[in-house]
Amino acid sequence: MTRSAIIGGIFAALCVGGAAAAFAIAWRPAIAAIDPPKPQSFDASLVKRGRELAAIGNCGDCHTVRGARNFAGGLPVPTPFGTVYSSNITPDPETGIGRWSEAAFRRAMRSGVGRDGGHLYPTFPYDHFTNVSDEDDSALYAFLMTREPVRAPARENQLAFPLDYRVLVAGWKLLFLHPGSYRPDSTKSAEWNRGAYLVEGLAHCGACHTPRNALGAERASASFAGGDVDNWQAYPINAQSPSPVPWDAEALFSYLRDGWHPDHGTARGPMAQVVSNLSSVPSSDVRAIAVYMADVLGTPTPDRKRQGEAALAQAKSGAAPAPQADAVGASIYAAACASCHEGGRPPPYGGINLGLSTAIASPDPRNLANIVLSGVRPVEGERSPIMPGFADSMSDTQIAALLNFLRTRFGNQAPWSGVDKTVEDARRTQTVFLQTSAGPRNAPADASQRDKP
């Protein structure tokens, strides 16, 4: 045997072995199709529990597109790798999940594999859903299988080669999918553990609030250090939180439940959808999330606490530092903003004092640009906060002047750079977001009002 033949033999063996290993890693069997189960076959209380869990998991917001039917999919989700469209999760037998057994559904949640054995893109946050219990998966399955079936074929994803090959997702999972990663912590309270289970699992808070690496996975070392979603900044919600007043469990609960807090303002952008959902689930679950997240945010340092108290005192007294900023921005603020934001009416119907605004205190001006352009939409049929958008009355330059003024006057921070570009981008992207996102359907300013006539 010649030397080259030996090398060739080893190479061939490696290739075969490698291919076999890759096959073993990537290949998943199809799970047999079933006849769609009858809605009556599910227990009503299980369906109700599933409805609450689906709200905590925010399923409807990605799987619904504005103006279309609930859970029928089709929402374009922009990613650095291309656009992925959400799928139809109604029980339609041909285009939805009507032929999925509960085992197939659980496998999708646990390991991101479709019924046919194909790998699902991690836009579907199974890196979190892998932590959802069997019991909760059953309830979610019961809820989804009892929705009205909608015929809505999947839209073709727009991903660059080679990412359009789903088999590559198997490699991603090897690196970033850690089944069973969530473990209860016996040193903490039951409420804390419940919150951790929800936050790290179904509620998938980190999917937006944790920054991602070059491969699009959450950076484990930077948990909750702030991320991006739909061209909004998802604020850091750990010790790096930029909110002028530090959060505590009580404030988090009221914000997540009601959609606003007097010291922090109103949830908007993608977060408006989240609090809209959380207004309809058991308050004990929202409280558990608040307790866990308060721990993630940590006890504020004495310095930070003092700054928070100073911001609150200043907001109450109305005394603001003398403006030494942009004259155009100051005039716009006086006529367009101050009537609400210095009007003396308490939030949420009056605007928050801008000295308490996280959008202005954040190093990233995007959220402020978005909000000035688009405002806060009132929620149909509910008492809710409202702010007009100024996209049609202000040019990019004028909005940039306003933003720079607000940062100097209220931000107590170094000026932003590149605000003109931010506003220009925000004007382009917000138009798309507002057209496609289903938006909050039902977010009362005060959830306790919901059951009242």
Partner: protein
């Protein structure tokens, strides 16, 4: 002194750059169609058109209007010659107390200028910002649909004043 172009005329007004447009329209120029409702940009009764777009004049300072064309309801038509949008609102009797109607007409006008055949959904979405406390919404919707037809007919045969089915 600020220079404003309103309904095709140029006005010099003695006002600060941060004065809301609505105040100047009503107090200085006596153009009283746009109404003061909430003064917070939340009700829409002050809506006017600026360069083709519906804008809330109570939260629009004069300095934002440099070089722009403002149109108020007075600029669309007169009592003797109402514009299609005004005719449509009258023919559908869309006003109850009428306080919101000027704003409704201006936002509807802006919509019809960029989209001559809006769907009901588009009309509702667009007018969502304008509040009517009397509850004439169904008539307002009919009026906007009628206005769309009137404008369409007017375009096909200029000067046609015939009734619209």
């Amino acid at each position: 002194m600020m220079t404003l172009k309103i309904n095709g005329l140029t006005h010099q007004v003695d006002a600060d750059p941060d004065t809301p447009l609505l105040y100047v329209l009503r107090d200085d120029l006596k153009l009283n169609a746009a109404k003061f409702g909430c003064g917070l940009g939340q009700c829409g009764s002050c809506t006017v058109i600026v360069d083709g777009k519906a804008v809330l004049s109570c939260v629009t300072p004069l300095l934002l209007l440099e070089g722009k064309q403002v149109t108020t309801l007075e600029g669309l038509g007169t009592i003797s010659e109402p514009a299609p949008i005004q005719r449509a609102f009258m023919e559908e009797q869309a006003a109850q107390c009428g306080y919101c109607i000027a704003g409704m007409m201006m936002r509807a006008q802006a919509l019809l200028q960029k989209n001559s055949k809006p769907t009901d959904e588009e009309i509702r979405t667009e007018l969502q910002q304008n509040l009517c406390r009397c509850g004439t919404h169904m008539r307002i919707l009919r009026a906007v649909r009628r206005a769309a037809r009137l404008m369409d007919t007017a375009e096909l045969s200029p000067g046609n004043q015939g009734s619209v089915p």
